[in-house]
Amino acid sequence: MPLITFQPSGKKTNVPAGTNLLDACHRAGMGVPASCGGKGLCGKCRVRIVSGKVPPHVGYEQALSPSEAAAGWRLACLVSVESDLVVDVGETSAIRSVILTDFGGVRPEPDHEVKSVPLELPKPSLADQTCDIGRIMRGLGLEEYPRCALALMQQLARKLREHDFRINAVLFGNELLAVEKFRPESRALGLAVDIGTTTVAGLLFDLQSGQALAVASRTNPQAVHGDDVVTRIDYANRGDEARKKLQGLIVGALGEILAETCASASAETGEVFFIAVGGNTTMHHLLLGLEPVNIAASPYIPVAKRGWLTRASHVGLRAGEGARLYTVPNISAYVGGDIVAGLLAYDLHNCDETVLLVDVGTNGEIALRADGATYACSTAAGPAFEGARISCGMRAATGAISVVGKRDGKFFIETIDDAPARGLCGTGLLDAVALLLDCGLLDETGYLLDRDEAKDACPELAERIIEDKTGTAFLLAEKSNGHPHLALTQKDIREFQLAKGAVAAGVRVLLETVGKNTSDLTRVCLAGGFGSYLKPASALRTGLLPQGIKPGAVEAVGNSALAGTRLCLLSGRMRDEAERIAREVKYIELSGQLSFQEAFTDEMEFPV
């Protein structure tokens, strides 16, 4: 069996001959990106073969220049491992994520529905022949039996006696979840998780005090099967095994987050009895193991929209005994629990202003509150803001160019963690386009001036206009130790136009639906990682947000999906409120709407 050595970690692994190199990387835990899910279409799975034999690069030609291919670069998904290899997969770095624990917005009021009650019960005797569950009922001061799963009832006799009638009864409302060893100091903990298509973030809470104890995040491990939800659905459609695999991956990540947060709060995972999860509809389906197939094609039918309360163990997640798992309700196939949670977190659903909530992920989800009603739509911006489809694009991780600008007439970039530039992430892309527009190097149709034209328009930056393999491009960072130069090409700008045009058009159509103008908006809340880090001025300059929005109205609200999910974790009233939101929001389907097409075409151009 061929042996693969991964650099720089030095990790080694044996794989059967004929194994796909990308699969081998992922099995060995190397976070090689794979936007297209290994189809050889995205060029993101670049790795360098340091030694060993691989066939020449064939397929997707623009992904690698001949000189790169000669230097050993390959697309991992196109390589079949036949003999020993040493492969450089680069630094795999954590993705920058927004996990702010001091959320603004609605303050949580824990309703202590989940609790662990220490009980020292009187032992049975001939004078007190009360049944076992009746004894617990009395101890809890209840009039009726607590609800109790048969499985727990079957163990009750043994458990009570094993612990000598000194127990902790774990309750969820009026349901008995578990009977545990007596621990008067025992806490009931809960975990709120936002499952993003790209990033998963979790917050551990003390359900009694409502205090946040610890936080952790992971890259969504399903990303190796595609960046966007449709590619993942496509993978899940291969069959039960594939669907279970995706479920297993996300459950694994939840388990890791659970373990990490518990460890940093010096708690045990066994103390966690409630887990609330928010995410888009596809993430929700994949977690619960529901078939997502009908979400992908018209007429887009999810299996279930309501919030769901089940057992964590039913999805294979190990936490406290009998722990419950709750999923935030969804609005439609493409407007999910993340938006419901966002509306909940900032109480937008009840406000009297004209407010917009925009989560600019791959699936640009937009909600509008106006005249006492709430509307939502999804615009499928595409993954450009997450680095895919952009020639030098990458996610917001170490080494990503995240800020681009001009200071004292000089061009500058900033990278995440101040590391050497490795690629361009969404916020950097937005800044770069805004800069090019400001300097007149890019006209309103999106045409990038060539070197000669640039000399007249902006002499200072004309030098940075180069001829790349695909045509005119703007140089962002020079070539440096083994990494090719980074440039924004004309084609990248076209991709950007599609993505930002779709978001802006979605906003406009929503506003038109209720007869409002951009100038009527008093608040524009930008949610999610990209939304929280982007420069509002660049969003307005490039027309990612349509013209007419007041600069002062734009604010970043951070991870609103997590903020809202934590409210659902801490209070049943909030879960009811989430349910009401999901029911009442009017979903606007953009497919087949002529007004969307018109707005989209308009918004592809840049503001003058």
């Binding site: 149709t445 695909t470 308009d602």
Partner: protein, 208 residues
């Protein structure tokens, strides 16, 4: 011919009013209908070339196509009188389950601009409907668009459906996630990466 050059320029720039006036003038001056048509086709050829090179983008193509359409509305009766009609016919549509149609519309416009007769079946078109329309209209090519990885299999079904129907109609596919490899795999006759290539491929398919 200056008038026709101006007409070509007007369409290229998407100046609908100018294009309209210039065609009217050309018709009044009794210029040969075929020559007028050629000047319109030249405009769309240029648009296609620059679109392919990323010099211009979707909005400009749409604007040019709109000017082209206005001009054609005036020219069409004249062409009919002169007995000039498109030599080849295509049916086009977005496949079942898919409602993305901006790319498909662009391809349709460019094909019209290249003097194909285009029958647009819209979106969410089933394999059966493609075949039926191709048979009823005697189309040379069935053009299919898909923008979702999950709706691409409907292209294969349509290709299979054409084959089992016994029709000799050619098939051409396209859309962002579609590749030449996929076209080969499902046995489609042709693939086009963009609207300009679609025209080239369509031309070579019918002349082969």
């Amino acid at each position: 011919m200056e008038l026709l050059n101006n007409l070509t320029e007007a369409v290229k720039k998407g100046k609908r009013k100018d294009a309209e006036a210039l065609v009217k003038q050309a018709v009044e001056q009794k210029l040969e209908a075929g020559t007028i048509l050629d000047s319109l086709i030249a405009a769309m050829d240029d648009i296609g070339r620059r679109f392919k090179a990323n010099e211009i983008f979707v909005p400009e193509v749409l604007i040019a196509a709109r000017a082209m359409k206005t001009a054609m509305e005036i020219l069409e009766p004249v062409l009919v009188d002169a007995g000039i009609k498109p030599e080849y016919k295509v049916v086009i549509g977005t496949v079942r389950g898919d409602l993305h149609d901006i790319g498909k519309n662009l391809v349709a416009m460019m094909l019209k601009g290249a003097n194909f007769e285009v029958i647009d079946l819209g979106t969410d078109v089933t394999p059966e409907k493609f075949v039926e329309a191709a048979r009823d209209n005697g189309a040379n090519i069935i053009c299919m668009s898909a923008l979702l990885t999950t709706t691409m299999p409907a292209m294969k079904e349509t290709v299979d459906c054409v084959k089992s129907s016994g029709l000799k109609t050619l098939t051409m596919i396209g859309g962002a996630p579609v590749t030449q490899e996929y076209a080969d795999e499902i046995g489609a006759s042709g693939y086009g990466a963009d609207a300009a290539t679609a025209v080239e491929v369509a031309r070579s398919l019918v002349s082969a």
